[in-house]
């Protein structure tokens, strides 16, 4: 297995085109302890020289990434973003990593912020980055929030329950999908289920729609009658809400849930695997 930094290095070099010499030379200098100014200049020039295209990682590259860091996905990475993260990783500064990161984050433009947060699964001393990650989660820039929340294993691996739950809730608030969150089922918990059910009640009172994905985090903890009543209400809405509620029922340990589901047309689709949380996305 290749180490993560090596995986990223090979990917960036293979997309550097005519600028490969510049990239190699700069990386060598950063590794040898060049002043921080060199890092700033590289971060500024990366999109200008290497372009901002999608990384379009190959199947092999995706496998190598996931093997090096379980859950590390190259799906939303761009060429300039990958180069920026690599430069930050190889840079041997005089300050602790978290301080350099903070300094860069403070003055980053949107694309830089996205790149900085996409790189989270690769950085050293992850436990020193909690404040920085909190700042990103609080961002009003949805793509910055999603750089942390989506296809990024850092929250699953390092968030405490409170921060995890609030990330899920914020995702719903800003109309962000839940399916791309790594560890969504593993990290589900009764407190989150309670928060989400209350949130659903609020939305219903205001006459607003509830994201069908919400029920995914409720299902395994739908163990009492009020919770089942919520799922029944979602079932009555029909469409994606009903399909989501049926999926949630199938995850509930409550015997009444099984009974409710048995009477539903969705039951067969769930049993046969035609309906799951992934296919719900297309609904």
């Amino acid at each position: 297995m290749q180490p993560a930094q090596q995986v990223l290095h090979d990917i960036v070099l293979s997309r550097s085109g005519d600028h490969i010499g510049w990239v190699e030379k700069t990386l060598a200098a950063l590794r040898a302890g060049a002043p921080e100014r060199e890092l700033h200049v590289f971060l500024g020039l990366a999109p200008r020289r290497l372009g901002k295209a999608d990384l379009n990682a190959s199947h092999e590259e995706r496998l190598a990434a996931d093997a090096a860091r379980p859950g590390w996905s190259l799906e939303d990475w761009s060429v300039d973003g990958a180069a920026r993260v690599l430069a930050l990783l190889v840079f041997q500064g005089a300050r602790p990593f978290a301080e350099t990161f903070k300094d860069l984050r403070r003055t980053a433009d949107a694309a830089e912020l996205i790149a900085l947060y996409r790189g989270l699964p690769l950085y050293p001393e992850p436990e020193t980055l909690h404040f920085e990650v909190g700042e990103g989660l609080r961002s009003n820039l949805k793509p910055v929030f999603e750089a942390i929340a989506h296809r990024n294993p850092f929250p699953r691996d390092h968030f405490d329950e409170h921060r995890w739950n609030h990330m899920i809730l914020k995702a719903l608030f800003v109309d962000s999908r839940l399916a791309p969150i790594v560890g969504l089922d593993e990290r589900a918990n009764p407190e989150l289920a309670r928060i989400l059910r209350e949130y659903a009640h609020e939305r219903w009172s205001a006459g607003r729609k509830v994201s069908p994905e919400l029920w995914r985090c409720v299902g395994p903890f739908a163990v009492d009658d009020p919770a089942l009543a919520d799922l029944e209400r979602a079932l009555k809405e029909g469409g994606a809400a009903a399909r989501a509620a049926a999926l949630a029922l199938s995850a509930s340990p409550h015997p009444a849930a099984r009974e409710l589901l048995r009477q539903r047309p969705e039951a067969e689709d769930i049993a046969s695997g035609r309906l799951d949380w992934q296919s719900l996305e297309a609904a």
Binding site: L45, K52, D54, T107, D109, A110, A111
Partner: protein
């Protein structure tokens, strides 16, 4: 299709963005400026620059408008030496951010020695980074201040074709154009330029190197300065070609020299960018006029708030 190349959107509301988009504005340039209240710490200035390269750019994108900015130390705050020194240290880091199309707005306010020092230092920075410059000309002692700005730029050796002299009026325009600079006009009620006067100037000078902007900010100003002037000019018989140059093409040409602003940004934005930063929903090909949205109008007239 219009560009407003001088608009302080950080001071404006979502109503402005909606109205601007509906009126056909596809891109704005937000120059770093004096926010009305002096900044007394370098840190607040740094956060301000972060706002205009990041958050405001994103916000504009949500309304389908492309946002660019210029970074610089404005003339008023150049008089606070401690602040000015601090800001100068940070500027090189911001000048290479995405969407930064010039150093600006810089120049003179009271024409003090400190203003002169930091004006020159920033011109040197623009020269080193090969960036265009946006020059703010003073409200008071305007004619002399404008001439002096151009003298200093020539002395430092910047190419006038990289420099926009902004807030021109009838008294300054002839010299600005004659010396080879771009001449910006801010359609700003009371203090700067009205659009009827602007139309007369267009009749007299044509469209070469003339740029119309709104300079809308926290004061009484009009975020529709560019489209309103365009309409008045067309109704007054100014050729369409001239209107297109002064309300769109000229700004694109000079600020495009930064390499950070291209017509494709709004005509055919790259997919990755559309996903993350830009919510443009009409792909306009061949310079077609955009479809005028009715959402904003509807919202203004609707009693119900949901």
């Amino acid at each position: 299709m219009y560009i407003d190349p001088h608009a302080h959107m950080i001071s404006r509301t979502t109503d402005d963005y909606e109205a601007m988009a509906a009126a056909g504005i596809v891109a704005v340039i937000e120059p770093a400026f004096w926010i009305g209240q002096p900044r007394t710490y370098v840190g607040t200035y740094v956060d301000y620059l972060s706002s205009i390269v990041g958050w405001e750019r994103f916000r504009a994108g949500q309304f389908g408008i492309r946002h660019y900015c210029t970074v610089g130390l404005n003339s008023k705050e150049a008089n606070n030496e401690e602040l000015a020194e601090g800001v100068m240290e940070w500027l090189p880091r911001f000048a290479l951010k995405e969407g930064v199309v010039a150093i600006g707005e810089i120049g003179y306010d009271e024409q003090t020695a400190l203003e002169d020092r930091y004006f020159r230092a920033q011109l040197e920075l623009a020269k080193e980074l090969e960036l265009p410059v946006m020059v703010h000309t003073p409200h008071r002692d305007k004619k002399r201040g404008t001439t002096r700005s151009m003298d200093v730029i020539e002395e430092i050796g910047l190419d006038p074709s990289m420099v926009v002299i902004d807030h021109n009026n009838e008294e300054t325009v002839a010299e600005t154009l004659q010396r080879g600079f771009w001449a910006g006009f801010s359609i700003y009620p009371s203090t700067k330029m009205g659009n009827r006067r602007m139309v007369e100037l267009l009749k007299q000078y044509g469209g070469e190197r003339i740029i119309v902007d709104s300079a809308c900010d926290w004061g009484i100003s009009d975020s529709l300065g560019v489209p309103k002037t365009a309409r008045l000019a067309l109704e007054s018989g100014v050729p369409e070609q001239t209107v297109r140059r002064v309300c769109y093409a000229n700004a694109l040409e000079v600020y495009g020299k930064s390499g950070q602003m291209r017509e494709e940004d709004w005509l055919a934005p790259p997919e990755i960018d559309q996903r993350t930063l830009y919510a443009g929903n009409s792909i306009l090909r061949g310079g077609r006029e955009p479809i005028i949205g009715t959402e904003a109008q509807k919202r203004r007239d609707d009693l119900i708030i949901e």
